[in-house]
Point group: C2
Chain length 251, copies 2
Protein backbone atom coordinates (compact mmCIF):
# COMPACT_ATOMS: atom_id res chain seq x y z
CA UNK A 1 0.00 0.00 0.00
CA UNK A 2 1.27 3.40 -1.00
CA UNK A 3 1.28 5.74 1.98
CA UNK A 4 0.28 9.34 1.37
CA UNK A 5 -0.10 12.46 3.50
CA UNK A 6 -2.24 15.38 2.33
CA UNK A 7 -1.33 18.88 3.46
CA UNK A 8 -4.28 21.26 3.20
CA UNK A 9 -8.00 21.38 3.88
CA UNK A 10 -9.45 23.38 0.98
CA UNK A 11 -11.57 22.19 -1.95
CA UNK A 12 -8.87 20.22 -3.75
CA UNK A 13 -7.57 18.69 -0.51
CA UNK A 14 -11.05 17.58 0.54
CA UNK A 15 -11.84 16.06 -2.85
CA UNK A 16 -8.50 14.21 -2.82
CA UNK A 17 -9.14 12.94 0.72
CA UNK A 18 -12.46 11.53 -0.46
CA UNK A 19 -10.89 9.90 -3.50
CA UNK A 20 -7.99 8.31 -1.61
CA UNK A 21 -10.27 7.06 1.17
CA UNK A 22 -12.20 5.12 -1.48
CA UNK A 23 -9.09 3.63 -3.06
CA UNK A 24 -7.84 0.26 -1.84
CA UNK A 25 -4.36 0.85 -3.24
CA UNK A 26 -3.51 3.87 -1.12
CA UNK A 27 -3.33 4.42 2.60
CA UNK A 28 -4.13 8.01 3.53
CA UNK A 29 -1.80 8.11 6.54
CA UNK A 30 -2.62 11.60 7.73
CA UNK A 31 -3.93 15.03 6.82
CA UNK A 32 -2.26 18.25 7.95
CA UNK A 33 -4.51 21.29 8.35
CA UNK A 34 -3.65 24.64 9.90
CA UNK A 35 -7.25 24.77 11.02
CA UNK A 36 -8.32 21.21 11.85
CA UNK A 37 -11.95 22.24 12.30
CA UNK A 38 -12.35 22.29 8.54
CA UNK A 39 -11.84 18.51 8.64
CA UNK A 40 -14.08 17.92 11.65
CA UNK A 41 -16.58 15.90 9.59
CA UNK A 42 -13.79 13.40 8.92
CA UNK A 43 -12.69 12.90 12.54
CA UNK A 44 -12.70 9.27 13.51
CA UNK A 45 -11.96 8.25 9.92
CA UNK A 46 -8.71 10.09 9.65
CA UNK A 47 -5.56 11.09 11.49
CA UNK A 48 -5.40 14.88 11.44
CA UNK A 49 -2.65 17.17 12.75
CA UNK A 50 -2.00 20.91 12.83
CA UNK A 51 1.65 20.52 13.79
CA UNK A 52 4.33 20.41 11.09
CA UNK A 53 6.60 18.52 13.51
CA UNK A 54 4.11 15.68 13.85
CA UNK A 55 3.58 14.90 10.19
CA UNK A 56 3.76 11.12 9.75
CA UNK A 57 6.34 9.28 7.70
CA UNK A 58 4.97 8.48 4.28
CA UNK A 59 5.90 7.60 0.67
CA UNK A 60 4.46 10.80 -0.72
CA UNK A 61 3.28 14.22 0.46
CA UNK A 62 0.68 16.21 -1.45
CA UNK A 63 0.60 19.96 -0.78
CA UNK A 64 -2.94 21.02 -1.71
CA UNK A 65 -3.00 24.64 -0.58
CA UNK A 66 -3.46 27.97 -2.39
CA UNK A 67 -0.76 28.78 -4.95
CA UNK A 68 0.69 31.57 -2.82
CA UNK A 69 1.17 29.30 0.19
CA UNK A 70 2.93 26.38 -1.55
CA UNK A 71 6.42 27.73 -1.02
CA UNK A 72 6.10 28.62 2.66
CA UNK A 73 4.30 25.38 3.51
CA UNK A 74 7.04 23.39 1.78
CA UNK A 75 9.68 25.29 3.76
CA UNK A 76 7.99 24.42 7.05
CA UNK A 77 8.12 20.67 6.44
CA UNK A 78 10.41 19.23 9.10
CA UNK A 79 11.88 16.48 6.92
CA UNK A 80 13.97 16.28 3.75
CA UNK A 81 14.76 13.92 0.88
CA UNK A 82 11.15 12.76 0.52
CA UNK A 83 8.80 13.12 -2.46
CA UNK A 84 6.66 16.25 -2.11
CA UNK A 85 4.25 17.37 -4.84
CA UNK A 86 1.84 20.26 -5.25
CA UNK A 87 -1.53 20.27 -7.07
CA UNK A 88 -1.37 23.64 -8.81
CA UNK A 89 -1.82 24.18 -12.53
CA UNK A 90 -0.01 27.48 -12.60
CA UNK A 91 2.79 27.17 -10.05
CA UNK A 92 6.34 26.07 -10.91
CA UNK A 93 7.48 22.75 -9.45
CA UNK A 94 10.47 24.71 -8.13
CA UNK A 95 8.21 26.61 -5.72
CA UNK A 96 8.54 23.58 -3.50
CA UNK A 97 11.55 23.87 -1.18
CA UNK A 98 14.50 21.99 -2.67
CA UNK A 99 15.26 20.09 0.53
CA UNK A 100 12.76 17.47 -0.67
CA UNK A 101 12.35 15.60 -3.99
CA UNK A 102 9.80 17.57 -5.99
CA UNK A 103 6.88 16.92 -8.29
CA UNK A 104 3.44 18.02 -9.45
CA UNK A 105 0.11 16.20 -9.20
CA UNK A 106 -2.36 18.45 -11.04
CA UNK A 107 -5.94 17.17 -11.40
CA UNK A 108 -7.42 19.15 -14.30
CA UNK A 109 -10.93 19.86 -13.11
CA UNK A 110 -12.99 22.59 -11.51
CA UNK A 111 -13.79 21.67 -7.92
CA UNK A 112 -16.75 23.10 -6.06
CA UNK A 113 -17.58 22.69 -2.43
CA UNK A 114 -20.45 20.28 -1.80
CA UNK A 115 -20.43 18.96 -5.35
CA UNK A 116 -19.06 15.48 -5.61
CA UNK A 117 -16.77 14.71 -8.52
CA UNK A 118 -16.03 11.37 -10.14
CA UNK A 119 -12.24 11.17 -10.00
CA UNK A 120 -12.14 8.30 -12.49
CA UNK A 121 -13.06 10.86 -15.17
CA UNK A 122 -10.51 13.48 -14.14
CA UNK A 123 -7.19 13.72 -16.03
CA UNK A 124 -4.23 13.98 -13.67
CA UNK A 125 -1.14 15.77 -15.01
CA UNK A 126 2.10 14.50 -13.50
CA UNK A 127 5.66 15.81 -13.36
CA UNK A 128 8.67 14.88 -11.24
CA UNK A 129 12.04 16.58 -10.99
CA UNK A 130 13.81 13.22 -10.80
CA UNK A 131 12.58 10.81 -13.52
CA UNK A 132 13.03 7.91 -11.09
CA UNK A 133 10.19 9.32 -8.96
CA UNK A 134 7.69 9.29 -11.83
CA UNK A 135 6.57 5.69 -11.43
CA UNK A 136 5.67 6.26 -7.78
CA UNK A 137 3.65 9.39 -8.58
CA UNK A 138 1.93 7.63 -11.47
CA UNK A 139 1.01 4.70 -9.22
CA UNK A 140 -0.60 7.14 -6.81
CA UNK A 141 -2.56 8.87 -9.60
CA UNK A 142 -3.68 5.56 -11.15
CA UNK A 143 -5.17 4.61 -7.79
CA UNK A 144 -7.88 7.21 -8.34
CA UNK A 145 -8.00 7.85 -12.12
CA UNK A 146 -7.03 5.94 -15.26
CA UNK A 147 -6.42 9.28 -17.02
CA UNK A 148 -2.81 10.13 -16.14
CA UNK A 149 -0.54 12.24 -18.34
CA UNK A 150 3.13 13.16 -18.18
CA UNK A 151 3.04 16.94 -18.55
CA UNK A 152 6.06 19.27 -18.45
CA UNK A 153 6.03 22.63 -16.66
CA UNK A 154 5.53 24.52 -19.94
CA UNK A 155 2.76 22.16 -21.04
CA UNK A 156 1.08 22.57 -17.67
CA UNK A 157 1.15 26.36 -18.05
CA UNK A 158 -0.37 25.97 -21.51
CA UNK A 159 -3.06 23.64 -20.15
CA UNK A 160 -3.91 25.97 -17.30
CA UNK A 161 -4.30 28.79 -19.82
CA UNK A 162 -6.37 26.64 -22.22
CA UNK A 163 -8.55 25.71 -19.24
CA UNK A 164 -9.27 29.40 -18.64
CA UNK A 165 -10.62 29.64 -22.20
CA UNK A 166 -12.78 26.49 -22.12
CA UNK A 167 -13.92 26.79 -18.52
CA UNK A 168 -13.80 30.34 -17.08
CA UNK A 169 -14.45 32.18 -20.36
CA UNK A 170 -17.08 29.69 -21.52
CA UNK A 171 -18.89 30.07 -18.21
CA UNK A 172 -18.81 33.83 -18.73
CA UNK A 173 -20.50 33.37 -22.12
CA UNK A 174 -23.20 31.42 -20.26
CA UNK A 175 -23.54 34.48 -18.02
CA UNK A 176 -24.02 36.72 -21.06
CA UNK A 177 -26.64 34.31 -22.42
CA UNK A 178 -28.36 34.33 -19.03
CA UNK A 179 -28.32 38.15 -18.95
CA UNK A 180 -29.87 38.38 -22.42
CA UNK A 181 -32.59 35.93 -21.34
CA UNK A 182 -33.32 37.80 -18.10
CA UNK A 183 -33.56 41.12 -19.92
CA UNK A 184 -36.18 39.62 -22.27
CA UNK A 185 -38.15 37.63 -19.67
CA UNK A 186 -37.03 34.28 -21.04
CA UNK A 187 -36.19 31.40 -18.67
CA UNK A 188 -32.47 30.54 -19.00
CA UNK A 189 -33.51 26.87 -18.87
CA UNK A 190 -34.40 27.09 -22.57
CA UNK A 191 -30.70 27.45 -23.40
CA UNK A 192 -29.41 24.58 -21.26
CA UNK A 193 -30.03 21.70 -23.70
CA UNK A 194 -28.15 23.70 -26.36
CA UNK A 195 -25.26 24.28 -23.95
CA UNK A 196 -25.08 20.57 -23.15
CA UNK A 197 -25.23 19.58 -26.82
CA UNK A 198 -22.45 22.08 -27.65
CA UNK A 199 -20.22 20.49 -25.02
CA UNK A 200 -21.12 16.95 -26.11
CA UNK A 201 -20.51 17.55 -29.81
CA UNK A 202 -16.74 17.76 -29.36
CA UNK A 203 -16.60 14.17 -28.18
CA UNK A 204 -17.09 13.12 -31.83
CA UNK A 205 -16.11 16.22 -33.84
CA UNK A 206 -13.13 18.58 -33.57
CA UNK A 207 -14.18 22.08 -32.44
CA UNK A 208 -13.43 23.42 -35.92
CA UNK A 209 -15.69 20.79 -37.49
CA UNK A 210 -18.39 21.54 -34.92
CA UNK A 211 -18.41 25.29 -35.60
CA UNK A 212 -21.72 26.64 -36.90
CA UNK A 213 -23.52 29.99 -36.82
CA UNK A 214 -23.75 33.32 -38.63
CA UNK A 215 -20.05 34.17 -38.22
CA UNK A 216 -18.96 30.87 -39.79
CA UNK A 217 -21.50 31.28 -42.64
CA UNK A 218 -20.57 34.96 -42.99
CA UNK A 219 -24.29 35.74 -42.78
CA UNK A 220 -23.86 39.52 -42.67
CA UNK A 221 -27.59 40.24 -42.37
CA UNK A 222 -27.90 38.23 -39.14
CA UNK A 223 -24.59 39.56 -37.79
CA UNK A 224 -25.76 43.15 -38.25
CA UNK A 225 -29.20 42.42 -36.77
CA UNK A 226 -27.57 40.86 -33.70
CA UNK A 227 -25.29 43.88 -33.21
CA UNK A 228 -28.27 46.21 -33.57
CA UNK A 229 -30.19 44.19 -30.99
CA UNK A 230 -27.41 44.35 -28.37
CA UNK A 231 -27.45 47.47 -26.22
CA UNK A 232 -24.68 46.60 -23.78
CA UNK A 233 -21.32 47.89 -25.09
CA UNK A 234 -19.43 45.09 -23.42
CA UNK A 235 -21.64 42.43 -25.05
CA UNK A 236 -21.26 44.23 -28.40
CA UNK A 237 -17.47 44.14 -28.04
CA UNK A 238 -17.47 40.41 -27.25
CA UNK A 239 -19.81 39.72 -30.17
CA UNK A 240 -17.60 41.66 -32.60
CA UNK A 241 -14.30 40.19 -31.45
CA UNK A 242 -15.43 36.56 -31.37
CA UNK A 243 -17.19 36.92 -34.74
CA UNK A 244 -13.96 38.21 -36.31
CA UNK A 245 -11.99 35.46 -34.61
CA UNK A 246 -14.28 32.76 -36.01
CA UNK A 247 -14.08 34.32 -39.46
CA UNK A 248 -10.30 34.53 -39.47
CA UNK A 249 -10.05 30.95 -38.18
CA UNK A 250 -12.38 29.69 -40.92
CA UNK A 251 -10.72 31.65 -43.70
CA UNK B 1 -54.40 12.50 -35.38
CA UNK B 2 -52.88 15.83 -36.27
CA UNK B 3 -51.88 15.91 -39.94
CA UNK B 4 -48.67 17.71 -40.82
CA UNK B 5 -46.71 18.38 -44.01
CA UNK B 6 -43.02 19.26 -43.91
CA UNK B 7 -41.57 21.46 -46.62
CA UNK B 8 -37.80 21.06 -46.90
CA UNK B 9 -35.14 18.38 -46.87
CA UNK B 10 -32.22 19.93 -44.95
CA UNK B 11 -30.93 19.12 -41.47
CA UNK B 12 -33.87 20.52 -39.51
CA UNK B 13 -36.42 18.99 -41.90
CA UNK B 14 -34.82 15.57 -41.69
CA UNK B 15 -34.64 15.64 -37.88
CA UNK B 16 -38.29 16.71 -37.72
CA UNK B 17 -39.31 13.95 -40.13
CA UNK B 18 -37.60 11.42 -37.85
CA UNK B 19 -39.27 12.84 -34.75
CA UNK B 20 -42.79 12.96 -36.23
CA UNK B 21 -42.45 9.46 -37.67
CA UNK B 22 -41.83 8.19 -34.15
CA UNK B 23 -44.80 10.05 -32.68
CA UNK B 24 -48.16 8.30 -32.47
CA UNK B 25 -50.04 11.58 -32.13
CA UNK B 26 -49.08 13.01 -35.50
CA UNK B 27 -49.51 11.80 -39.04
CA UNK B 28 -46.74 13.03 -41.30
CA UNK B 29 -48.90 13.27 -44.42
CA UNK B 30 -46.23 14.32 -46.86
CA UNK B 31 -42.84 15.92 -47.36
CA UNK B 32 -42.13 18.46 -50.10
CA UNK B 33 -38.55 18.63 -51.38
CA UNK B 34 -37.23 20.52 -54.39
CA UNK B 35 -34.75 17.72 -54.76
CA UNK B 36 -36.47 14.51 -53.70
CA UNK B 37 -33.23 12.53 -53.89
CA UNK B 38 -32.22 13.97 -50.54
CA UNK B 39 -35.10 11.99 -49.04
CA UNK B 40 -34.41 8.81 -51.00
CA UNK B 41 -33.54 6.87 -47.83
CA UNK B 42 -37.12 7.49 -46.66
CA UNK B 43 -38.91 6.29 -49.79
CA UNK B 44 -41.46 3.67 -49.02
CA UNK B 45 -42.02 5.13 -45.56
CA UNK B 46 -43.14 8.52 -46.74
CA UNK B 47 -45.11 10.38 -49.38
CA UNK B 48 -42.71 12.79 -51.07
CA UNK B 49 -43.44 15.41 -53.73
CA UNK B 50 -41.43 18.03 -55.61
CA UNK B 51 -44.54 19.79 -56.96
CA UNK B 52 -46.06 22.70 -55.03
CA UNK B 53 -49.41 21.97 -56.73
CA UNK B 54 -49.54 18.48 -55.29
CA UNK B 55 -49.00 19.29 -51.63
CA UNK B 56 -51.55 17.32 -49.60
CA UNK B 57 -54.27 18.85 -47.45
CA UNK B 58 -53.19 18.98 -43.85
CA UNK B 59 -53.78 20.68 -40.46
CA UNK B 60 -50.36 22.29 -40.41
CA UNK B 61 -47.46 23.03 -42.76
CA UNK B 62 -43.92 23.38 -41.51
CA UNK B 63 -41.50 25.28 -43.75
CA UNK B 64 -38.04 24.01 -42.75
CA UNK B 65 -35.82 25.64 -45.34
CA UNK B 66 -32.94 28.14 -45.17
CA UNK B 67 -33.90 31.57 -43.78
CA UNK B 68 -33.50 33.26 -47.17
CA UNK B 69 -35.90 30.86 -48.88
CA UNK B 70 -38.79 31.03 -46.38
CA UNK B 71 -40.54 33.92 -48.08
CA UNK B 72 -40.39 32.60 -51.64
CA UNK B 73 -41.37 29.08 -50.60
CA UNK B 74 -44.38 30.45 -48.71
CA UNK B 75 -45.40 32.46 -51.78
CA UNK B 76 -45.34 29.36 -53.95
CA UNK B 77 -47.81 27.46 -51.78
CA UNK B 78 -50.93 26.91 -53.91
CA UNK B 79 -53.40 27.20 -51.01
CA UNK B 80 -54.48 29.88 -48.55
CA UNK B 81 -56.07 30.26 -45.13
CA UNK B 82 -54.16 27.33 -43.63
CA UNK B 83 -51.67 27.33 -40.74
CA UNK B 84 -48.10 27.64 -42.06
CA UNK B 85 -45.11 27.94 -39.72
CA UNK B 86 -41.36 28.28 -40.21
CA UNK B 87 -38.58 26.88 -38.00
CA UNK B 88 -36.15 29.79 -38.00
CA UNK B 89 -34.79 31.50 -34.90
CA UNK B 90 -33.92 34.71 -36.66
CA UNK B 91 -36.63 35.23 -39.27
CA UNK B 92 -39.77 37.27 -38.68
CA UNK B 93 -43.06 35.39 -38.67
CA UNK B 94 -44.18 37.95 -41.28
CA UNK B 95 -41.72 36.53 -43.80
CA UNK B 96 -44.37 33.93 -44.45
CA UNK B 97 -46.79 35.05 -47.17
CA UNK B 98 -49.91 36.52 -45.56
CA UNK B 99 -52.31 34.45 -47.66
CA UNK B 100 -51.99 31.76 -44.98
CA UNK B 101 -52.33 31.85 -41.17
CA UNK B 102 -48.80 32.25 -39.82
CA UNK B 103 -46.69 30.95 -36.98
CA UNK B 104 -43.25 29.87 -35.81
CA UNK B 105 -42.07 26.45 -34.62
CA UNK B 106 -38.46 27.00 -33.55
CA UNK B 107 -36.64 24.03 -31.99
CA UNK B 108 -33.71 25.55 -30.08
CA UNK B 109 -30.91 23.13 -30.79
CA UNK B 110 -27.89 22.70 -33.02
CA UNK B 111 -28.59 20.01 -35.60
CA UNK B 112 -25.81 18.09 -37.31
CA UNK B 113 -26.15 15.66 -40.15
CA UNK B 114 -25.78 12.03 -39.10
CA UNK B 115 -25.99 12.85 -35.41
CA UNK B 116 -29.26 11.77 -33.87
CA UNK B 117 -30.90 14.12 -31.40
CA UNK B 118 -33.34 13.33 -28.63
CA UNK B 119 -36.28 15.64 -29.37
CA UNK B 120 -37.78 15.09 -25.93
CA UNK B 121 -34.90 17.22 -24.57
CA UNK B 122 -35.24 20.03 -27.10
CA UNK B 123 -37.14 23.21 -26.19
CA UNK B 124 -39.56 24.27 -28.91
CA UNK B 125 -40.38 27.99 -29.10
CA UNK B 126 -43.87 28.68 -30.45
CA UNK B 127 -45.61 31.74 -31.82
CA UNK B 128 -48.81 32.24 -33.81
CA UNK B 129 -50.17 35.36 -35.42
CA UNK B 130 -53.72 34.43 -34.40
CA UNK B 131 -53.92 33.37 -30.72
CA UNK B 132 -56.61 30.83 -31.62
CA UNK B 133 -54.00 28.85 -33.60
CA UNK B 134 -51.68 28.49 -30.62
CA UNK B 135 -53.32 25.38 -29.14
CA UNK B 136 -52.95 23.50 -32.43
CA UNK B 137 -49.27 24.41 -32.76
CA UNK B 138 -48.64 23.50 -29.12
CA UNK B 139 -50.33 20.12 -29.61
CA UNK B 140 -47.98 19.45 -32.52
CA UNK B 141 -44.91 20.46 -30.50
CA UNK B 142 -45.98 18.41 -27.45
CA UNK B 143 -46.16 15.35 -29.68
CA UNK B 144 -42.35 15.38 -29.86
CA UNK B 145 -41.15 17.38 -26.82
CA UNK B 146 -42.54 18.28 -23.39
CA UNK B 147 -40.46 21.48 -23.46
CA UNK B 148 -42.67 23.99 -25.27
CA UNK B 149 -42.55 27.74 -24.71
CA UNK B 150 -44.64 30.64 -25.95
CA UNK B 151 -42.01 33.03 -27.31
CA UNK B 152 -42.68 36.37 -29.00
CA UNK B 153 -40.78 37.58 -32.06
CA UNK B 154 -38.57 39.85 -29.95
CA UNK B 155 -37.90 37.09 -27.44
CA UNK B 156 -37.02 34.73 -30.25
CA UNK B 157 -34.51 37.24 -31.62
CA UNK B 158 -33.02 37.55 -28.13
CA UNK B 159 -32.85 33.77 -27.78
CA UNK B 160 -31.22 33.34 -31.16
CA UNK B 161 -28.61 35.89 -30.15
CA UNK B 162 -28.08 34.32 -26.72
CA UNK B 163 -27.65 30.99 -28.50
CA UNK B 164 -24.81 32.47 -30.55
CA UNK B 165 -23.02 33.31 -27.29
CA UNK B 166 -23.54 29.97 -25.55
CA UNK B 167 -23.17 27.77 -28.64
CA UNK B 168 -21.18 29.34 -31.51
CA UNK B 169 -18.88 31.49 -29.35
CA UNK B 170 -18.40 28.78 -26.73
CA UNK B 171 -17.44 26.33 -29.46
CA UNK B 172 -14.92 28.88 -30.71
CA UNK B 173 -13.36 29.02 -27.22
CA UNK B 174 -13.04 25.22 -27.46
CA UNK B 175 -11.17 25.83 -30.74
CA UNK B 176 -8.79 28.23 -28.99
CA UNK B 177 -8.23 25.65 -26.24
CA UNK B 178 -7.57 23.02 -28.89
CA UNK B 179 -5.09 25.31 -30.69
CA UNK B 180 -3.17 25.99 -27.47
CA UNK B 181 -3.01 22.23 -26.81
CA UNK B 182 -1.84 21.42 -30.35
CA UNK B 183 0.86 24.06 -30.21
CA UNK B 184 2.20 22.51 -27.00
CA UNK B 185 1.86 18.85 -28.01
CA UNK B 186 -0.91 18.16 -25.52
CA UNK B 187 -3.87 15.94 -26.45
CA UNK B 188 -7.09 18.01 -26.47
CA UNK B 189 -8.77 15.05 -24.75
CA UNK B 190 -7.30 16.27 -21.43
CA UNK B 191 -9.61 19.29 -21.57
CA UNK B 192 -12.83 17.45 -22.39
CA UNK B 193 -13.84 16.40 -18.85
CA UNK B 194 -13.40 20.03 -17.77
CA UNK B 195 -15.56 21.21 -20.67
CA UNK B 196 -18.30 18.74 -19.73
CA UNK B 197 -18.16 19.69 -16.06
CA UNK B 198 -18.38 23.39 -16.96
CA UNK B 199 -21.54 22.73 -18.96
CA UNK B 200 -23.01 20.48 -16.26
CA UNK B 201 -22.39 22.90 -13.40
CA UNK B 202 -25.08 25.32 -14.61
CA UNK B 203 -27.76 22.72 -14.02
CA UNK B 204 -27.43 23.40 -10.28
CA UNK B 205 -25.73 26.82 -10.09
CA UNK B 206 -26.38 30.07 -11.93
CA UNK B 207 -23.52 30.99 -14.29
CA UNK B 208 -22.55 33.87 -11.99
CA UNK B 209 -22.34 31.49 -9.02
CA UNK B 210 -20.35 28.99 -11.11
CA UNK B 211 -17.74 31.56 -12.19
CA UNK B 212 -14.19 30.76 -11.05
CA UNK B 213 -10.69 31.57 -12.29
CA UNK B 214 -7.98 34.23 -12.14
CA UNK B 215 -10.21 37.01 -13.57
CA UNK B 216 -12.87 36.43 -10.92
CA UNK B 217 -10.23 36.28 -8.14
CA UNK B 218 -8.41 39.27 -9.66
CA UNK B 219 -5.23 37.21 -9.50
CA UNK B 220 -3.07 39.72 -11.37
CA UNK B 221 0.07 37.56 -11.27
CA UNK B 222 -1.63 34.69 -13.13
CA UNK B 223 -3.42 37.07 -15.53
CA UNK B 224 -0.11 38.67 -16.52
CA UNK B 225 1.64 35.30 -16.86
CA UNK B 226 -1.13 34.05 -19.14
CA UNK B 227 -0.90 37.15 -21.34
CA UNK B 228 2.88 36.75 -21.53
CA UNK B 229 2.47 33.11 -22.52
CA UNK B 230 0.07 33.87 -25.39
CA UNK B 231 1.76 34.78 -28.66
CA UNK B 232 -1.28 34.97 -30.91
CA UNK B 233 -2.63 38.55 -30.97
CA UNK B 234 -6.16 37.37 -31.52
CA UNK B 235 -6.01 35.03 -28.49
CA UNK B 236 -4.50 37.86 -26.43
CA UNK B 237 -7.38 40.16 -27.42
CA UNK B 238 -9.98 37.55 -26.44
CA UNK B 239 -8.19 36.90 -23.14
CA UNK B 240 -8.07 40.61 -22.30
CA UNK B 241 -11.67 41.39 -23.26
CA UNK B 242 -13.25 38.42 -21.48
CA UNK B 243 -11.11 38.99 -18.39
CA UNK B 244 -12.32 42.60 -18.19
CA UNK B 245 -15.88 41.49 -18.80
CA UNK B 246 -15.74 38.96 -15.94
CA UNK B 247 -14.22 41.59 -13.65
CA UNK B 248 -16.84 44.22 -14.44
CA UNK B 249 -19.61 41.63 -14.00
CA UNK B 250 -18.24 40.58 -10.61
CA UNK B 251 -17.64 44.12 -9.39
Amino acid sequence: MLKVVIIGSGNVAQHLIGAFQKSDKVELTQVYARNTEKLQHLHGHLSVTDDFNRIAESDLYIIAVSDDAINSVSEQLAFSGRLVVHTSGSTAMESIDSKNRRGVFYPLQTFSKNKEVDFTKIPVCLETEDPSDYALLEELAKSISPLTYSISTTQRQALHLAAVFVNNFTNHLYTVGNDICTKNNIPFDILKPLIWETATKISTLTPVEAQTGPAKRNDTTTLQRHLDFLQDDNQKAIYTLLTHSIQSKNG
